[in-house]
Amino acid sequence: MRYLGHRLVQSLFLLLGVSVLSFIFVDLAPGSFFDEMRLNPQISSETVAKLRKQYGMDQPLPVRYMRWLKSTLKGELGFSFAYDAPVAPLLRSRARNTLLLTGSATLLGWLIALPLGILSAEKRKGWVDRTGTITTSVMLATPDLLLALGLLLFAARTRWLPVGGMSALDSGGQGVWQQTRSTAVHLVGPVVVLVLGSLPILMRHTRAAMIEALDSPYVRAARAHGVRRWRILFRHALPAAINPLVTLFGLSLGSLLSASLLIEVVMSWPGLGPLLLEAILARDLYVVIGAVMFASLFLVCGTLLGDLLLFVADPRIRTDELV
């Protein structure tokens, strides 16, 4: 447990570092939310100055940072200029949607990639493996953006899927079941794009890890003893191959978050992505920082989860602790 505690403290420091870094970048950058106001002839410069003071933007960087930290500890994450409200409640529902999207995409992606990767490694150099390798190379070269646009076109042409959003307009007044169904149908498009986007990388790594495990002497010995193929694959090779894959699981969450940022905007899924873009265009800096913080929180939680799984899956790490 000491190992996990250590990782937890490390992650906290990491998040703190991220927040400091974003504040420094913000301070270095020219332009602010109030610049647009200054250009507006209907707003006097005194009003702008007063507003700046009210939001504490006239203070030096460390003061502003400490204030932000204080408001974060209260669970507010600063104040949005454009929405005139604390940032955290704004972000919370958006973050939940992003989590729903990336969570289901991660789960589905791994559920598909693991068997395919294992199959590809087992039938190495066979036609399954060859077509798999070629397909993954092409899929790897296809940008997510194109996949998303393609799916939109598909949805628009066939009308099998909704063309964006998260729930049908009329689903608000209906029961919980109806709403869930509507959300699930809307979830299909973005999840398919994210899964297709992450599948090739996951498959490649699964294949590589399995091949390495299958090439090891003990698997050859097991084969020589006449252990059945399925048993070799799942009892002998997979547990040995799982270690790098678990590490990848934590990392894959990060790349999926980046991918979902774009997909959300293109397919108008109300997650962190569209909010972040809006905030950037409006120069609503605490919302931007908040969105970045939420995203890095997800990523840190993902790697922590990966470490936890590794702890469970790999006896070597557990025994290290005892020594």
Binding site: L14, P30, S137, L149, R283, L285, V292
Partner: protein, 345 residues
């Protein structure tokens, strides 16, 4: 050896693409901003290899378009007025490599006919010409951002690995920080606080700077690893014993050891950075109109009608695939080569 040949072939292909991109002015028949307000969203021109009598002609020709009466937006070809496609013609002026004023183009048709190989966009601009000019932005921003990223990564990684101690600790914590952020979010956040409305050239340089700075962490860590083991080599120790300065040792003995990793990283990073430029421009945070980039050309697809009706507007997205495929194959060939070399040792 097989990997070497593969690498050479891929390098030549990619080099060719970049060469065409550099000489975009020559290869494109029109200027990227030249509008034909009469022909918005025109589908690709039909190129005829037969004349009106039906006999085969060596020289392909393009016919004049006439609007169909009573149906605006639909055009018929006037088969009687066809103009041959000519090669090495004079047309709009452009600056080759930003230096020489020229007006020679690879191909074109004599006015009043027009040739649109990949159709036109909403302002009646030639998509083919924009694709070529846009590749200058998209391909080279990826390339230059990679150079910047690798330069920063190599410098910091080398310093961290060479000196060790607290310098190493600080640099490594920084890389962890950069790697802890989902990188597209980081990119957005950085872009968020730079001015929104700027000239295309400035936007281009800004994009390179932002993309390049965000990505230094991973190459930095790899370089540090190489330097960490590389500085224990006998010849490095010997050079140090003979009084070689730190800078000399790093430049002369440690940097060459990192070339393999730098090249492989470049092949991995360039497509990622091209995509970053395309993404930012697609969302209106990158290079703005009228200058074309593959990203802001794709942005037209955000309109439902364009997405569904005008398939040629997908061109910038489709050309991305072979480019990315080549870079991907190049990277895996380089990795396979490096793995083979270590096995031989």
């Amino acid at each position: 050896m097989k990997q070497n040949r593969k690498i050479v072939v891929l390098m030549i292909c990619l080099g060719g693409v970049h060469l065409v991109s550099l000489f975009a002015g020559f290869f494109s028949p029109y200027d990227f901003a030249q509008q034909d307000r009469d022909f918005p969203y025109l589908s690709p021109s039909q190129i005829h290899f037969r004349d009106a009598q039906g006999s085969v002609r060596w020289r392909p020709s393009v016919c004049l378009l006439v609007e169909r009466p009573g149906d605006s937006g639909a055009y018929d070809e006037d088969k009687k007025k066809c103009f041959p496609v000519r090669f090495f013609v004079r047309g709009a002026e452009y600056r080759l490599l930003g230096l020489f004023q020229l007006d020679w183009h690879l191909f074109g048709v004599s006015p009043p006919a027009k040739i649109f190989l990949v159709g036109t966009d909403g302002y009646g601009r030639d998509v083919f010409s924009r694709l070529l000019y846009g590749s200058q932005v998209s391909l080279f921003s990826g390339l230059m951002a990679t150079v910047l990223s690798l330069a920063v990564g190599a410098l910091l990684g080398m310093v961290a690995g060479y000196y060790g101690g607290w310098i190493d600790a600080v640099v490594m914590r920084c890389t962890e920080l950069f790697l802890a952020l989902p990188w597209l979010y980081l990119l957005f956040a950085l872009r968020a606080f730079l001015p929104l409305h700027i000239s295309p050239i400035l936007a281009f340089l800004l994009l390179i700077a932002v993309i390049g700075v965000v990505g230094w962490a991973r190459p930095g860590r790899l370089i540090r690893g190489v330097v960490l083991s590389g500085k224990e080599n006998q010849y490095v120790l010997a050079a140090r014993l003979f009084g070689g300065s730190d800078v000399y040792l790093m430049r002369r003995h440690l940097l060459p050891q990192t070339y393999g990793i730098l090249l492989t990283q470049a092949a991995l990073l360039i497509p990622q950075y091209i995509l970053a430029e395309v993404t930012l421009s697609f969302l209106g945070l990158g290079v703005g109109e009228p200058a074309p980039s593959w990203g802001n050309m794709l942005a037209a697809l955000q309109q439902y009608s364009v997405l569904v009706s005008y398939w040629w507007m997908w061109a910038p997205g489709v050309v991305l695939i072979p480019v990315f495929l080549s870079y991907g194959l190049l990277a895996s060939a380089m990795q396979a080569r490096a793995a083979g070399m270590t096995r031989e040792e």
